[in-house]
């Protein structure tokens, strides 16, 4: 079961304009559009009349006219016109979802609108921070969203999956620490005096070994920020090093399909388009390596009828803690609905 009382990314801010766009989130179809005043609206993409897809209709002013029989709904989801009749039944309406635009993305609250709390939007400030430059994308993945958050919370996989870009042997040799703070999980690994990974050398002149920081923050249900730093070994001199945030948030489309939104936001060589391109292309390639592993993993999970439990290792600490938090929040949600 998905966490409904939560914000999910429905797209990039610049994707939603003066037309109708369909998006699926936690199994529900939404139609998104921007009002004349510039506000993004998200409605259920199912006409209350005969369940046609509203996203195939027309945006007229700030209203959506169903493309089948012309039933017209406003931003609140209320019906404002039914062709051929004056009377409008009160049940002729769709759900409207709270929407917030923040950190380059459009966030939709999928649960009880009363409970929509903007402060629960993950802290992705570096996507929009002055002095920082970001590049990113969205990848369709045929896997459950939690396989993606698991992946991001245990970076030992970099050593095996990403040797061409960001993986090095020293990652697995360095212990991680993790702690839970409220509903957040923090995982940290500091690798001392090791050669830089290939991608670091490609975008930053790094002489000799580095100290490398991986400071990971999980915010439920599916957002992970990685504060990645590289200093010349033994110094704290970021001027001669590298720092970026890897910002990741996963939107479940359904139980086996996800949209993986990502950015890399850096505070060095901000004006160097070549560096931006190298980072973009390398990280895209890197994440596609993950996708290959995760989609194969999803098949192995789906076809497993052995009833055997997975066997834990020390490096799972972060992902296990994150799954427990989501589980707890889903349980609270069920209790709230039952009471």
């Amino acid at each position: 079961m998905f966490l409904k009382n939560s914000w999910y990314v429905a797209g990039w801010s610049n994707e939603i304009q003066r037309s109708l766009t369909q998006r699926w989130i936690i199994g529900e179809p939404l139609v998104l559009y921007r009002t004349q005043a510039g506000k993004v609206v998200a409605l259920t993409d199912r006409c209350p009349h005969r369940r046609a897809a509203l996203s195939k209709g027309n945006l007229i002013g700030d209203t959506v006219q169903c493309g089948y029989h012309g039933v017209t709904l406003d931003c609140s989801g209320a019906c404002v016109a039914i062709p051929g009749q004056q009377q409008i039944p009160p049940s002729m309406k769709v759900r409207t979802y709270p929407v917030v635009e923040k950190w380059q993305w459009i966030w939709v609250w999928m649960g009880d609108p009363e409970a929509a709390d903007e402060s629960l939007i993950p802290d992705f400030r570096y996507n929009s921070e002055p002095g920082w430059v970001s590049t990113g994308g969205c990848i369709d993945v045929k896997a459950n969203y939690q396989l993606l958050t698991d992946n991001l919370l245990d970076l030992t996989h970099e050593t095996y999956v990403h040797t061409r870009t960001i993986g090095t042997n020293e990652i697995v040799e360095t212990p991680m620490t993790q702690r839970v703070e409220g509903n957040e999980v923090h995982v940290q690994r500091i690798i001392k005096n090791a050669p830089p990974p290939p991608l670091f050398s490609r975008v930053r002149k790094l002489e000799g070994n580095i100290d490398r920081w991986q400071v990971i923050r999980f915010q439920p249900p599916a957002s992970v920020t990685i504060d990645a730093r590289a200093y010349p070994a033994g110094t704290d001199d970021l001027e001669r090093g590298l720092r970026w945030f890897s910002v990741n948030t996963i939107t479940p489309v359904d139980a086996r399909t996800s949209k993986y939104y990502w950015t890399i936001t850096r505070c060095f060589a901000q004006d160097d388009a070549e560096v931006t391109k190298t980072i973009h292309d390398s990280i895209y390639t890197t994440f596609m390596e993950d996708v290959e592993v995760l989609e194969a993993q999803q098949i192995m999970i789906d076809t497993d009828d052995s009833m055997k439990a997975e066997v834990g290792v020390r490096a799972d600490g972060g992902s296990v803690a994150a799954r427990r938090i989501v589980e707890k929040l889903v349980k609270q949600q069920s209790t709230a609905l039952a009471s």
Copy 2:
């Protein structure tokens, strides 16, 4: 559940010749062929021996020889030969379906053969009427057949879906009347003194406004005839106007797949091949607009677990009445089977 005691179109008369053709109707596979004497035969397309598809076998005289082990069945579905043995078990047989060729189509009775009543074949006489010329086709649709009959019984959708051909604003502004007669539904809309829709002007010189008639007749489970007329406004002068029948019958392939058979049959410019081509191409395009809407609607229905009822509007009158008739007939069929 499908209505079994009913005729369904299995194909165009000229499609079934001296070879074996497979067709699926209400979830059942049929093999069709024409005998040497010219009669169309429909048998279950499953060999009683090992369930091979008979349609992959050979037509030998008026018998079907299974292409796997040579079991041979005659027009009645009885086995007339088993290679390598003289004795034929009485259970070695398949069902034969009553077949009638009428109005250019091949009709198959899917229920109790005793109950097959030729008078229940929809009245599509204009497909074959002297002085009338028809053009038509068959469209595969990934939607339940009732979404198609709903569509044909509420033409307000033309205003939203078909603005390029037959839709005008005046349609939705004009009230419909409907009445139920026995197991038929009749819906009528007469639009007075309005501009002609684009397609009418393309095939008929119409000066000024028209009076437009849409006289719809539903015959269960899935046939809809539309008597479409356009007179110069204020006259009853069909000589200077336009009249055609839109003849439509839907064959359910299974619960989510349909074959939509259609013709447009007209009594003007009968010899003008250009007019025939314009009508054919425009109506095909028009119906493909419906298909896009209906296939999206089917997805929205399949993925809806909200348990919310659809909300009715006045224009639904015809389609609601038609669904009630089919429901009643299906219920009668279940009662008959149980008694």
Copy 3:
């Protein structure tokens, strides 16, 4: 339910080398590789840690390193390394399957390893016999494996499906005899004084009619050898005739998907590459004719809700006996598991 206590072909001997290969057998994923010493290993292709596909990882010496987080397993399925920790939980292991290489193929025992009995591998000696030359292949079939063994045990189908290569009318006109010996089924047909089938004439100069032998041996669950002979009619002179073994074994991938491994092994014109090519291409074409029939048959079985039993004919004797043996063995297996 599949017979687990049985050997199944996982591939050709030369397919499995010093890399990781995935294969699915009776619904279970396996990773196969060859050790440095040349022995083939088969492990469950699911990492016990997070169920990643081990076959996407690395072969390091004789161990498999998971490509996700580096968990490393040896040939016995035991874990020998977990990155970042010394302690290895005893449950961190996968199943290893008994493997035997024999008759050009790799055989995997899918059941209780204690019960693995090499003498149960079908007798396919002619695949490797001195003086015999074989050609063969593997065909993916979207049908249950028993539709394939049924097919091979009733060669009357050759008359209908394979008229271009090995089918003649005389096959169905000649009675078969069959007998069950232990868990094997033997079916025999001797056709006297009949014209040779087209393929025989293409690969062997045969003047006049032949006596044709089809001596079929079924070994459970899915292996069928056909000893095919053609003598000049009335002689027993194989010098002027033709003899080959058609060796067939089917590996169920899942309940509706199979891998059909086949060879034709002959003891004439052994050095004639042209004959090898003609036999290979003709038999491949012949078996693809079967595949078309069987995949259509599988669809007809899947869509049949009539609850009607199939109707038997005399020629079914062999396939019915074979299915009974498999059924009995599966039942014994269930009893053994329950006790």
